[in-house]
C-alpha cells in the first residue's frame, strides 16, 4: 500500500517535472476573391518546460529534434519558412503570415551565446539535415543582421541586434522531400487529425505552398512568471479550384485534398476547422457551407470583422451523421462568366484602410548595367469611413538585403503622392554596404507613408563580372535577389480586444498585439532574377596564353630596344636562303639583301 502510494507520488512527480504539453490543431479555409481557396493548417504544441535550463530528457509532444536544437545552441526564437510560389496580394488580399519565395530562416539567439556566427552556422547545417533542405548554403554572403525589422515575436528580455541573424535562399525549391520531415515532427504524424489531409501530390499541385516552423518562448500564464515554449507548424496552400473545377467555384475538402477528415488527433486538446464565411459585399446570399456548422465565430482579423463557421472535430456530434467530414462550399445560383467578372470587379480593397504591396514584375531595365528595381509600390488608401478625419499616415519599415554581386549604386527613394502634396518622411536609415565575397548589402528604412499616395522605392544597381569559379551551375539562369521585406503597423479601424491566446483561434494569435488599435503585417516582394554577364568558361588556358603573349610583346620589344644598339650592317654573302630571297627580290624590283 505504501509502495503503491510512493509509486503514485513518483509518477505524479515525474509528470509534473516533465512539464505539461498541449497540442492544438486548426485548419482555416478562406475563399479568395479570384476563385481560389486558401487552406492554412496550424499545429501548435505548447510545452511548459524550460528548455534552456536543466536537462530535459523526456519529450512527449514536442519533437525531440527541435527541442535538443533549441537547448544545445541557445536559440531563443526560430522561424523557418519554405515557400514555393508567390502570394498575389493584389488578387488574394493579405495573408496573416507571409513568407518569401524560397527558404527563409531567422533566429534570435540567447544572450548567453558568445559566438553567434558559429552557432548560426551549426544551426543552419542541423536544420538542413532535419528538413532535407539546402540550408547549408547559408553563410556570411547571404546572412544579414537587421536592426529595425524582425523584432522577437515571443518573450524577449532586451534586444541586442547582434543576436539576430536573417538569411534567405531564394533559389530553394520546396518539394515532397521537405514535407515529409515536416510532417514527422507532428505528434500524430500524418495518421490522424488534420494532418491526414496533407498529401503531397495534391499539396504541390497548387499556386502557393508555404510550410513553416516557428519556435518561441511565451508566458506560461497571465502573471508571466515562468516561460513555456511554443512550437507552431503552419502550412498554407492555395488551390485554384476555379480552373481545375470545370469552371465552377464550388470546392470541397475532398476536391482539394482528395481526403476527408475522419477524426481528430487523439493527442490534441483542440482540433477545429474554420471556414471564412464573412459576407463580402455582393456575395452574401450566394454561398452555402455544408455540412451546416455547429457554431459561428466572429473575430477581428487585420482590422476586418470576419465570420467563421466552426467545425469542432472533438465534439461527438460532428461525426453523428457521417463517418467523415467533408466541408463543402456550394454556390446557390448557377454561374456564368459574367458573374466571375463581376466578382473580379468587386474591389473589396477600396473599402478598407490597409497597406498593400504591388509587385512590379516587368523591370524598366536598361540592359547594360543598371536596373531600376521598383521594389515596392506602396498604396496607402485612406479609410472609407474616416475620410473626413484627415490623413492617416502609416509607418512602414522596408528592409532589402541584396547579394554582393550587384554593387548597389545610388539609392533613390521617390515618393509620388497622388492628390496630396506630402513629402516622404524617412525616419531611420541603416545602410550596410556589401563587401565583395563577404557580406551582402542591407538597406533598412523607416518610412512614414502619407495617406492617399503611392510611394515607389527604386534601387539602382550595377552588375559585376565575377571570377569564373564563382558562378553557380547553370550560370545563365541568373542570380536571385532575395525579396524585400515590408513590416508595418497598420492602424485598425475596428478596435481589437485583447484576447487570451489560449481561447482564441490560432490564426488570430500569431503576432502579439500591443494594443487594439493597430495590427502588424509583414509583406514580401517578389524575388528578382538578374542575368549577370558571364565570361566564357571554356577559355582559361587561352586567356592566359593570349594575355601573356601581349605582355611578352611589350617585354620583347623593350628588351630589344634596351639591350641592342644600332650598327651599320656589313654585307655578307652566301646562304642559300639569302640567294633565293635575292632572286625573288630581283623579280619584285626591290634592292637585294
Amino acid at each position: 500500500m505504501l509502495a503503491a502510494a510512493a509509486a503514485l507520488l513518483l509518477a505524479a512527480a515525474g509528470t509534473v517535472g516533465a512539464g505539461r504539453d498541449a497540442l492544438r490543431e486548426e485548419l482555416l479555409l478562406t475563399p479568395l476573391p479570384a476563385g481560389d481557396v486558401a487552406a492554412t493548417f496550424q499545429f501548435r504544441t505548447r510545452w511548459d518546460a524550460d528548455l534552456q535550463r536543466g536537462a530535459v530528457s523526456h519529450y512527449r509532444l514536442f519533437p525531440k529534434a527541435l527541442g535538443q536544437l533549441v537547448a544545445a545552441l541557445g536559440v531563443r526564437e526560430l522561424h523557418l519558412a519554405l515557400t514555393q510560389g508567390f502570394w498575389r496580394t493584389q488578387a488574394w488580399g493579405q495573408l496573416p503570415l507571409q513568407a518569401p519565395a524560397g527558404a527563409e530562416l531567422w533566429v534570435w539567439f540567447q544572450p548567453t551565446v558568445t559566438d553567434v556566427d558559429k552557432a548560426w552556422k551549426e544551426l543552419s547545417n542541423i536544420l538542413s539535415g532535419i528538413f532535407c533542405a539546402s540550408l547549408n548554403f547559408i553563410d556570411s554572403t547571404n546572412t544579414v543582421t537587421p536592426t529595425a525589422s524582425f523584432k522577437p515575436l515571443g518573450l524577449a528580455n532586451g534586444t541586442d541586434h547582434n543576436l539576430l541573424r536573417y538569411a534567405v535562399l531564394p533559389r530553394e525549391v520546396v518539394c515532397t522531400e521537405n514535407l515529409t520531415p515536416w510532417k514527422k515532427l507532428l505528434p500524430c504524424g500524418s495518421k490522424a487529425g488534420l494532418a491526414v489531409l496533407l498529401k503531397a501530390e495534391r499539396l504541390f499541385h497548387s499556386s502557393y505552398h508555404s510550410q513553416a516552423v516557428h519556435i518561441r518562448p511565451i508566458c506560461r500564464d497571465a502573471s508571466c512568471l515562468a516561460v513555456s515554449w511554443e512550437l507552431r507548424q503552419t502550412l498554407t496552400v492555395v488551390f485554384d479550384t476555379f480552373s481545375s473545377g470545370q469552371g465552377k467555384k464550388d470546392w470541397s475538402l475532398f476536391k482539394m485534398f482528395s481526403r476527408t477528415l475522419t477524426d481528430a488527433c487523439p493527442l490534441a486538446s483542440q482540433s477545429k476547422v474554420y471556414v471564412d464565411i464573412s459576407p463580402k459585399n455582393k456575395e452574401k446570399e450566394l454561398l452555402e457551407v455544408t455540412p451546416p456548422p455547429a457554431s459561428v465565430h466572429e473575430a477581428i482579423v487585420q482590422g476586418d470583422r470576419r465570420t467563421y463557421a466552426v467545425y469542432d472535430l472533438l465534439s461527438p456530434s460532428l461525426f453523428n451523421t457521417s463517418r467523415s467530414l467533408n466541408v463543402q462550399l456550394k454556390w446557390k445560383r448557377p454561374q456564368d462568366s459574367s458573374l466571375r467578372e463581376w466578382i473580379w470587379a468587386a474591389d473589396w480593397r477600396d473599402q478598407h484602410s490597409h497597406l498593400q504591396h504591388t509587385p512590379i514584375s516587368g523591370l524598366p531595365c536598361d540592359p547594360a548595367g543598371d536596373c531600376a528595381v521598383v521594389s515596392a509600390a506602396l498604396c496607402a488608401h485612406s479609410d472609407y469611413h474616416h475620410e473626413g478625419e484627415g490623413k492617416q499616415a502609416k509607418t512602414a519599415e522596408a528592409g532589402a538585403p541584396t547579394p554582393w554581386e550587384m554593387s548597389r549604386q545610388c539609392e533613390i527613394a521617390q515618393g509620388s503622392p497622388g492628390a496630396t502634396d506630402a513629402s516622404l518622411w524617412l525616419g531611420y536609415i541603416h545602410y550596410q554596404p556589401a563587401q565583395d565575397r563577404r557580406r551582402p548589402h542591407l538597406l533598412e528604412m523607416l518610412i512614414q507613408l502619407p495617406a492617399n499616395s503611392v510611394t515607389k522605392i527604386t534601387i539602382q544597381f550595377e552588375r559585376a563580372l565575377l571570377k569564373w569559379t564563382e558562378y553557380p551551375p547553370d550560370p545563365n539562369h541568373g542570380f536571385y535577389v532575395s525579396s524585400s521585406v515590408l513590416s508595418a503597423l497598420v492602424p485598425s479601424v475596428i478596435a481589437m480586444k485583447d484576447m487570451d491566446v489560449e481561447q482564441s483561434p490560432l490564426f488570430t494569435s500569431l503576432f502579439p498585439s500591443l494594443d487594439g488599435s493597430s495590427y502588424f503585417v509583414r509583406l514580401y516582394t517578389e524575388p528578382l532574377l538578374v542575368n549577370l554577364p558571364t565570361p566564357d568558361f571554356s577559355m582559361p588556358y587561352n586567356v592566359i596564353c593570349l594575355t601573356c603573349t601581349v605582355v611578352a610583346v611589350c617585354y620583347g620589344s623593350f628588351y630589344n630596344l634596351l639591350t641592342r644598339t644600332f650598327h651599320v650592317e656589313e654585307p655578307s654573302r652566301g646562304g642559300l636562303a639569302k640567294r633565293l630571297a635575292n632572286v625573288i627580290r630581283k623579280f619584285r624590283g626591290v634592292p637585294p639583301l
Binding site: P367, A368, G369, D370, W404, S407, R408, Q409, C410, I429, Y431, Q432, P433, A434, Q435, D436, R437, H441, A464, L465, L466, K467, W468, T469, P533, T534, P535, D536, M539, P540, V543, I544, L546, T547, V550, V551, V553, C554, Y555, S557, F558, N560, L561, L562, R564, T565, F566, H567, V568, E569, E570, P571
Partner: protein, 414 residues
C-alpha cells in the same frame, strides 16, 4: 601664340558644355572604357552619400578614392561640371609652358614654337579627353596632378616636383615610377653627372627622395586625420594592387583574373604589378641622358599596364606625342598602328553592345578588342622608342651612312 590658344580653349570648353547638356552625357558616363571602379563619378557620389549617412565610405566595396578627394568634392559637388572643365583648362595651360629645352640639331626653333599649341590641341580636342571629362571621371584630377608635376620638374623646382609627385602617388599608386625620370632630369639640370661613386649625386638623390617621402607621409597622415581611420589604405591601395573588381575595361587584367585558377591568383597578381614597375631601372640606364623621353615612356607604360586603365590615362601620354613629331620620319608602323587604335576605339562600344545588350556576342569579343588595342598601344610606344634611338644614332654618326665600300648602308638593331 595666345590667340590660337584661346581659340582652342574656347572650342574645347564649348564642346564639353554641349556634351554635358546633351543626352550623351549619361551614356558616356556609363561606358566602361571611360569610367573604371577607381575613378567613376557615380562612386564618388555614392561615397559622399555614405559619408553623409555616417557610414564610413570604405566599409563597402564601392568607393576607392582617397580621402582628400572626398573632401574636395564635398565642397564642390554642386559645381562638379565646372571643376572638370576647368581642370582641363589648367592642364592645357601647364602643357603650354612646357617647352622642352633639349637643343636639337635637326629641329628648328620655328617648329618648337608651335609645339605647346599642338600639345594643347592634342589634349583638349582628343575625343578620349572629352569623353573622360563629360563622364566626370576623376582621371582628370590624376592627369592634372601629373601635368603639374611635369611642369614643376621642367622648371627645375625640386620641392614642388616632389610635392606633386607625392600627390600623384597618393592618388593612384603607379606614378611612383616617375621618381626616376624626375630625378634624372633634375640632376641634369644641376649639371651633376650620374656616376654611382659621385658624392654630389647621392646627396642630391637623398635630398629629393627625402622631400618626396616627407610630402607623401604628410599627405597620408592628413588623410588619416580627415576620416579618423586607416580604412582608406586597404580600400584604395589594396584595391589597386589586388584587383578584386573584375569589371571589364580597356586593360588586360579583368578577363585574365576572371578566368584564373584560384591557386595561381596571387602569383599572377604579383607578376602583373611587378610588370608595371620593373621597366623603370632598365629604361633609366638606357635613357639617362634623355629623361624627358624616359618620362614619356614611363607614363605610357603606366597607362597601358595599370590595373584599371581608362581612356583618360591614354589621353595623357598621347598629348605628348606632338613633342616628338620630329621623329615622324623614323617611325616604321605609324599608319597601321593609328588605324588599329582608331578602329579598336570604335569597336569597343559596338562589341560591348553586342555582348551585354544583344547577347549575340560573348565576352571573348570584347576581350579580343582589348588585346588588339593594347598591342596597338605597346607597338606605338616601342615604335617611338625605336625612332628616338635611331635619331640619336644619326645625331652622333651623321645622317648619311655609308658602308666601307661607299654604298648606302642599312641600320640594324643588333
Amino acid at each position: 601664340m595666345a590667340a590660337p590658344l584661346v581659340l582652342v580653349v574656347l572650342v574645347a570648353v564649348t564642346v564639353r558644355a554641349v556634351l554635358y547638356r546633351s543626352t550623351l552625357a549619361a551614356f558616356i558616363s556609363e561606358r566602361v572604357e571611360v569610367a573604371s571602379p577607381l575613378n567613376a563619378w557615380k562612386r564618388v557620389v555614392e561615397g559622399l552619400a555614405l559619408l553623409d549617412l555616417g557610414v564610413s565610405p570604405y566599409s563597402g566595396a564601392i568607393f576607392h578614392e582617397t580621402p582628400l578627394i572626398i573632401y574636395l568634392f564635398h565642397f564642390v559637388i554642386e559645381y562638379a561640371e565646372l571643376v572638370f572643365m576647368f581642370k582641363k583648362q589648367k592642364l592645357l595651360i601647364e602643357l603650354d609652358k612646357y617647352a622642352p629645352d633639349v637643343a636639337e640639331l635637326i629641329r628648328t626653333p620655328m617648329e618648337m614654337h608651335y609645339i605647346p599649341l599642338k600639345v594643347a590641341l592634342f589634349y583638349l580636342l582628343n575625343p578620349y579627353t572629352v569623353m573622360s571629362c563629360v563622364a566626370k571621371s576623376t582621371c582628370a584630377i590624376n592627369n592634372t596632378v601629373i601635368a603639374f608635376f611635369i611642369l614643376a620638374t621642367i622648371k627645375g623646382s625640386a620641392f614642388l616636383s616632389a610635392v606633386f609627385l607625392a600627390l600623384a602617388t597618393y592618388q593612384s599608386l603607379y606614378p611612383l615610377t616617375l621618381f626616376a625620370p624626375a630625378l634624372l632630369y633634375l640632376l641634369q639640370r644641376q649639371f651633376i653627372p650620374i656616376k654611382l661613386k659621385s658624392k654630389s649625386f647621392w646627396l642630391y638623390t637623398m635630398q629629393y627622395a627625402a622631400l618626396y617621402l616627407c610630402s607623401l607621409v604628410v599627405i597620408i597622415c592628413l588623410s588619416f586625420f580627415l576620416l579618423n581611420s586607416w580604412d582608406f589604405i586597404p580600400s584604395v591601395y589594396g584595391f589597386i594592387l589586388s584587383v578584386p573588381d573584375l569589371t571589364p575595361n580597356i586593360g588586360l587584367f579583368w578577363y585574365f583574373f576572371a578566368e584564373m585558377f584560384e591557386h595561381f591568383s596571387l602569383f599572377f597578381v604579383c607578376v602583373f604589378q611587378i610588370n608595371v614597375f620593373f621597366y623603370t631601372i632598365p629604361l633609366a640606364i638606357k635613357l639617362k641622358e634623355h629623361p624627358v623621353f624616359f618620362m614619356f615612356v614611363q607614363i605610357a607604360i603606366i597607362s597601358i599596364f595599370k590595373s584599371y586603365p581608362t581612356v583618360g590615362d591614354i589621353a595623357l601620354y598621347m598629348a605628348f606625342l606632338p613633342v616628338w613629331n620630329h621623329l615622324y620620319r623614323f617611325l616604321r608602323n605609324i599608319f597601321i598602328l593609328s588605324c588599329v587604335l582608331i578602329v579598336c576605339s570604335l569597336l569597343f562600344p559596338v562589341l560591348w553592345h553586342l555582348w551585354i545588350y544583344a547577347g549575340s556576342a560573348n565576352s571573348n569579343f570584347y576581350y579580343a578588342i582589348t588585346l588588339t588595342f593594347n598591342i596597338g598601344q605597346i607597338l606605338l610606344i616601342s615604335d617611338y622608342f625605336y625612332a628616338f634611338l635611331r635619331r640619336e644614332y644619326y645625331l652622333t654618326h651623321g645622317l648619311h651612312l655609308t658602308r666601307q665600300d661607299g654604298t648606302e648602308a642599312m641600320l640594324v638593331l643588333k
